[in-house]
């Protein structure tokens, strides 16, 4: 019992466990739609593009969530500007934007003595450092994300399944895509706030890959991904405590392990099913 309780004793232990679990669950659920719509590159870009906003918020003592949202706005405007260059694809303009914004974050960090430590913490994560205001703002964002996911579930499914029939089904493609983008942005902002930008991507993608490997129905997949995300988030705290590894790296490891384990399980299941058919013959 002590082994379970030790990591959450102290001033920040329980708060960190709750925030990692809640953020993990929210990111897991959003991650399912990121995979289904093929938006992993967008999510990765967003986690990096937020850095200037986050670093500035950190240096000026503002809420990281507000910094993250400002970073998204900046990324959007920059992508739009780059995409207007002749013969520039969306992927190319996003890549240029992300690279520029990461460099911008590093430059802002370099302008202050404490900036580089803040930059590193935002990049690789320091869940214990998140303030209660940040955690409350993140929880509010994720509550909004959960309600939106519930309301948009069927329309997301119809569009992801058969984009050509969406208009006939009276599903507004532009509205659904805008809602999806908003949900991804909010999830990224909430996750980056707790885990840092690189591990946030692992939380968004790892549990969703695990759920995708295990589920044959999208509704169940969202629940399983949320559960897997919560377990990965909580598991990361214990891994970090007992292995004495950085928290951000622990998040990435638990998420990757969940995805790999589920994929192996599915492969084993398929392989045994094939063996069964051969045996019947």
């Amino acid at each position: 019992m002590d082994a379970l309780l030790d990591p959450i004793r102290g001033d920040f232990g329980l708060t960190t466990l709750i925030s990692l679990t809640v953020v993990g669950a929210g990111c897991g659920a959003v991650g399912v739609w990121i995979l289904q719509f093929g938006r992993a590159f967008l999510a990765e870009s967003l986690t990096h593009a937020l850095l200037p906003g986050l670093v500035a918020a950190s240096l000026f003592g503002a809420s990281l969530v507000i910094g993250a949202l400002a970073g998204v706005l900046l990324a959007y405007v920059a992508t739009l500007a780059f995409s207007r260059a002749p013969k520039t694809s969306a992927a190319a303009s996003t890549s240029v934007t992300v690279t520029t914004l990461v460099a911008g974050g590093a430059l802002i960090a370099a302008s202050s003595d404490s900036g580089y430590a803040a930059f590193e913490s935002l990049l690789f994560g320091n869940p214990v450092a998140a303030t209660r205001v940040d955690l409350a703002a993140g929880a509010l964002l994720l509550a909004g994300v959960t309600v939106t996911l519930w309301l948009a579930h069927e329309r997301f499914g119809a569009l992801a399944f058969d984009p050509a029939a969406a208009v006939s089904l009276r599903v507004s493609v532009s509205r659904v895509q805008a809602v999806l983008l908003l949900v991804i942005v909010c999830a990224v902002a909430a996750a980056v706030n707790v885990t840092g930008s690189l591990p946030a991507l692992a939380l968004l993608v790892g549990p969703a890959i695990a759920a995708d490997a295990l589920c044959t129905r999208i509704g169940r997949g969202v629940w399983i991904a949320a559960l897997a995300g919560a377990i990965c988030g909580a598991g990361a705290l214990y891994l970090s405590y007992y292995a004495d590894w950085p928290a951000g790296a622990s998040v990435a490891i638990t998420c990757t392990a969940a995805a790999a384990a589920a994929s192996c399980l599915r492969r084993t299941h398929r392989s045994s099913a094939r063996t069964g058919v051969v045996a019947q013959r």
Partner: protein, 253 residues
């Protein structure tokens, strides 16, 4: 008079052009299509079948003339655009047809589920309702998408080559389901290359950049009309009083 009241689609000298194109893809379309009819659009690739569908769904406005669609439209596009790796059952896909009737916060209830199961039953898949969409055969998947269209309950149903690439058993079931929709009072418009299917329709519209002929199959499927519709793509073989057309087209699925 009754027929005029029941007209669901009215086109008067309508022409359709894609943005940037110098000439219209389809011109001079004049049609009155009532409910309770099975209409086959016949024509070569690029002849204007899909363009007319885009006009009917509201995706493409007429560049000239008028097109009036007096009732909601449901559209079944080519099946290869739906994803076989998406984790849904045949029933889930069919239920997507009820999306427009419900606010986002209301999940499908007993009524919607019962309607979806009935639609699956009409396409001969009542026993496959819980099967994953990706595990069904190509013909069965096509039938599930037709069930989704049936559930939509729109008075006008557009189907883009619903029999292309499906097995004979599925083709027979789909053909019967289309007649069932027509008997329910709907206007069913099918884009097809199948002259035999066109012979069994109530009305045939032959397209080749314009309406070459429109009317009952007996009038619209004469050898001269078919020759004009398909031009070099058609080889006519004599078969008694009629002619059998062999279409040489390259279709991608």
């Amino acid at each position: 008079m009754q027929d005029r009241l029941n007209v669901l689609v009215t086109a008067s000298d309508a022409s359709f052009a894609y943005p940037g194109a110098t000439s219209p893809a389809l011109r001079d379309v004049s049609l009155d299509l009532p409910g309770s009819e099975l209409v086959i659009l016949l024509g070569p690739n690029g002849g204007g079948k899909t363009t007319l569908f885009r006009g009917l769904t509201g995706e493409l406005a007429p560049a000239a003339g008028t097109l009036k669609v007096h009732a909601p439209v449901s559209y079944l596009p080519q099946h290869d655009r739906s994803r076989t790796d998406f984790p849904v059952s045949a029933l889930d896909v069919t239920l997507m047809g009820t999306l427009a009737e419900r606010p986002p916060w209301r999940r499908p209830g007993r009524t919607e589920r019962s309607r979806a199961r009935e639609a699956l039953s009409r396409v001969g898949l009542a026993d496959r309702a819980d099967t994953s969409f990706g595990e069904l055969s190509g013909g069965q998947r096509r039938r599930v998408l037709l069930a989704r269209t049936i559930v939509q309950d729109s008075p006008i149903v557009l189907l883009d080559e619903p029999l292309a690439g499906v097995d004979p058993a599925s083709a027979e079931v789909i053909d019967a389901a289309l007649r069932g929709l027509r008997d329910d009072g709907r206007l069913v418009i099918v884009a097809s290359h199948d002259i035999e299917q066109a012979r069994r329709a109530d009305r045939v519209v032959c397209l080749n950049g314009r309406v070459v002929a429109a009317g009952p199959p007996g009038d619209a499927l004469s050898p001269s009309v078919l020759q004009e519709t398909y031009a070099a793509e058609l080889t006519l073989l004599p078969a008694g009083d009629d002619a059998v057309g062999v279409i040489e087209h390259h279709h991608h699925h």
